[in-house]
């Protein structure tokens, strides 16, 4: 199960302390190798710093408060094409919707895997399924979602015209994005549950609690930091995905509701998120407004940075809770 957590490239566990000795006595090739390792380590720091600083500079250059409160519109110049209010709102809506699906289901799968897991054959199948889901390209989930939500019996979730189901809506995009976040949630929660030593469970059984009560009252509260970590890693994946959004959210400039019910119509309709907005406004897209793309990418990067800091904070809190000491 190292796959999803590895994909998140998140936690590096601490190593044993080691003595530092001088490399002066080494052969030249070994010292060159160590130098190369230092160079590469610093290179990654420089690349990250360059990406962040460059986007900050461009973001500050192009981001105007007015962009955040106006909607995109068709046009050929910076002044005509408006801002990205709808994509910004839709990003949040989509993120909330897909995490509302992924977190409960992911936690349930993790609980089943770590606390029940019978029959063992099924557990193995589930494990490899989750692992495979983690390796599935999002473009495939998007293609699958198109097939799934164009099915007539799911027509109530999107726009229908003349018996043909459009299959593109917030529901469709959120459902498929939740599959993208699912492996991250599962592996994170499972790791958290497995880190709880068995004597904690046994203590709960000893006072007469059932397994269900133990899971709900003891294990899940104790594993809350890892649920939170999984949620944030999943969120990072969800707000950063483009393929599913382009395909299943319809990628319309502004929100295009379907029907007349107040909230439901918007969710059955189409829209776009920040990622698809960037994709659309890049020089290779149809919009070709690099300034707007930079501004939206800057906002996106701020979100990712916030999530990254959040994972760090939760991770530090999580290690503060030690069972055996």
């Amino acid at each position: 199960m190292s796959t999803p957590q590895a994909l998140a490239a998140g936690s590096l566990p601490p190593t044993a302390p080691r003595r530092n000795e001088s490399s002066a006595s080494w052969r030249l090739t070994d010292r060159l190798g160590l130098g190369f390792a230092w160079f590469l380590g610093l290179l990654f720091c420089v690349i990250t710093a360059a990406i962040v600083i460059y986007l900050f500079v461009q973001g500050i250059r192009y981001l105007r408060p007015s962009l955040l409160v106006t909607n995109p519109s068709a046009g050929f110049t910076e002044s005509q094409t408006g801002g990205f209010l709808d994509p910004l709102i839709d990003t949040v809506v989509i993120a909330v919707m897909s995490m509302a699906i992924a977190v409960p289901i992911g936690t349930a799968i993790a609980v089943w895997l770590s606390e029940f897991g019978r029959p063992p054959v099924l557990a193995r199948i589930v494990e490899s399924t989750v692992e495979m889901l983690a390796g599935t390209p999002s473009i495939l989930l998007a293609l699958f979602g198109t097939l799934l939500f164009e099915a007539p019996w799911l027509g109530f979730l999107s726009r229908t015209s003349g018996g043909v189901v459009f299959g593109r809506s917030f529901f469709a995009a959120a459902a498929m994005l939740s599959l993208l976040a699912l492996p991250l949630v599962v592996s994170s929660v499972r790791e958290g549950l497995q880190a709880i030593p068995s004597h904690v469970r046994e203590a709960s059984y000893a006072v007469g609690k059932t397994k269900t009560a133990t899971t709900r009252r003891v294990l899940l509260p104790a594993a809350r930091p890892s649920v939170l970590t999984g949620t944030m890693l999943g969120l990072g994946r969800v707000i950063g995905d483009t393929a599913i959004v382009v395909l299943l959210l319809g990628n319309t400039l502004t929100n295009d509701p379907s029907g007349s019910a107040p909230i439901l119509s918007a969710l059955r309709g189409t829209g776009s998120t920040l990622t698809s907005y960037v994709f659309y406004n890049a020089p290779t897209g149809d919009g070709d407004q690099p300034g707007k793309a930079y501004a939206a990418a800057f906002v996106l990067l701020l979100m990712v940075l916030a999530l990254n800091v959040g994972v760090d904070i939760v991770g530090r809190r999580g290690t503060a809770l030690r069972w055996n000491s």
Partner: protein, 334 residues
């Protein structure tokens, strides 16, 4: 296990809710597994007509892919005259070149960085590298694509491609910076964090005593890590490489932006210039032509591209699992 259960349910009335919970969770788990299986069935079923019409020639070379795509798309309005002829070799070749190149570069870099993190980095450096690598992994691919299009591609066009090399391939293809090189470099940065994190886990799982034994023989730490640590962690290296490859193959958005999006097979016979030639990998082809899903033959063709991705992804995921088994044998869980 079974016996315990029966005893419990006989003696304790509270076993009821437990069984209910287990069944509910089990059913949910089965639904998710079923959904993933359904993905395979649905995609393969939708892809079948394209494979059926082309046979193994689907994977072969022949004609211009872009012309074939146009013909397939425009034949969509008349079901009787639907065209399916499709030879995907330029797209497959482009995928092999881009992903292969990125994986090779990322592998070398990741191995050095992983060794550095596990054995040699001073504490502040390690504390810095962890959020840095997580950040690199979390930056959305569309942002990488945007930076590629607006920074890397113009740089390659202005500084790396000489007028002479542009002229040398003028009759065949225009070089404008959208190139293999840009795609490979950016993809390498994108997949390296995945590799590093798996490599680091593998190197950490190497029993300390094995390394100490080598050090005790007077072998310096650098040699020790490479001769003992890296060798022991080989399965983790394979697993990480495989997963990163799967990631690269599935990357659609960034590659569609920087690879040039031309159905052209870069030709190594052109000499070094070929790394500046544009192309378009499989996944990028799907996202580039996504508006054409309305045309039935085009739809089948796009799903066939997806089926190839799905199949290679599943194979890679299986290979990664198989590569990790030897580690389990030693009781080392990476």
């Amino acid at each position: 296990m079974k016996v315990d259960d029966d005893v419990l349910s006989d003696e304790e009335s509270s076993a009821g809710p437990d069984q209910r919970a287990e069944l509910t969770l089990g059913a949910l788990v089965c639904v998710v597994v079923g959904l993933v299986l359904a993905m395979f069935v649905f995609v393969l079923h939708e892809a079948w007509p394209s494979f059926a019409h082309n046979g193994l020639h689907w994977f072969g070379a022949g004609g211009s892919v872009d012309n074939q795509i146009d013909a397939i798309y425009s034949s969509g309005d008349n079901a009787a005259r639907a065209v399916y002829t499709f030879h995907a070799w330029p797209l497959i070749w482009s995928t092999i070149l881009i992903v292969g190149g990125a994986v090779v570069i990322a592998f070398v870099c990741s191995l050095f960085v992983a060794v550095f993190i596990v054995e040699f980095a001073p504490e502040p450096m390690r504390a810095l590298l962890q959020p840095v690598l997580r950040m690199l992994a979390m930056v959305p691919s569309v942002v990488y694509g945007l930076l590629g299009v607006l920074v890397v591609v113009p740089f390659i066009n202005n500084h790396l491609i000489s007028e002479h090399s542009k002229a040398s391939v003028t009759p065949i293809i225009t070089l404008d910076g959208y190139s293999l090189l840009a795609a490979v470099v950016i993809l390498a940065v994108m997949i390296a964090p995945v590799m590093i994190s798996i490599f680091v886990n593998g190197l950490r799982a190497v029993p300390r005593g094995w390394l100490e034994g080598s050090l005790a023989l007077g072998i310096n730490p650098w040699r020790t890590v490479w001769k003992v640590g890296v060798r022991t962690a080989r399965p983790a290296l394979v697993a990480g490489t495989v997963l990163a490859t799967a990631r690269g193959i599935g990357e659609a958005v960034m590659l569609s932006m920087v690879s040039g999006s031309v159905g052209f097979a870069p030709n190594p016979a052109d000499g070094l210039v070929f790394i500046f030639e544009p192309s378009r990998p499989l996944a990028a082809t799907i996202i580039d032509n996504i508006d054409q899903l309305t045309s039935p033959p085009m739809r089948h063709t796009l799903y066939a591209l997806g089926a190839v991705l799905l199949f290679s992804g599943a194979m890679l995921s299986f290979a990664g699992w198989a590569a990790k088994q030897p580690l389990r044998r030693y009781g080392v869980l990476a």
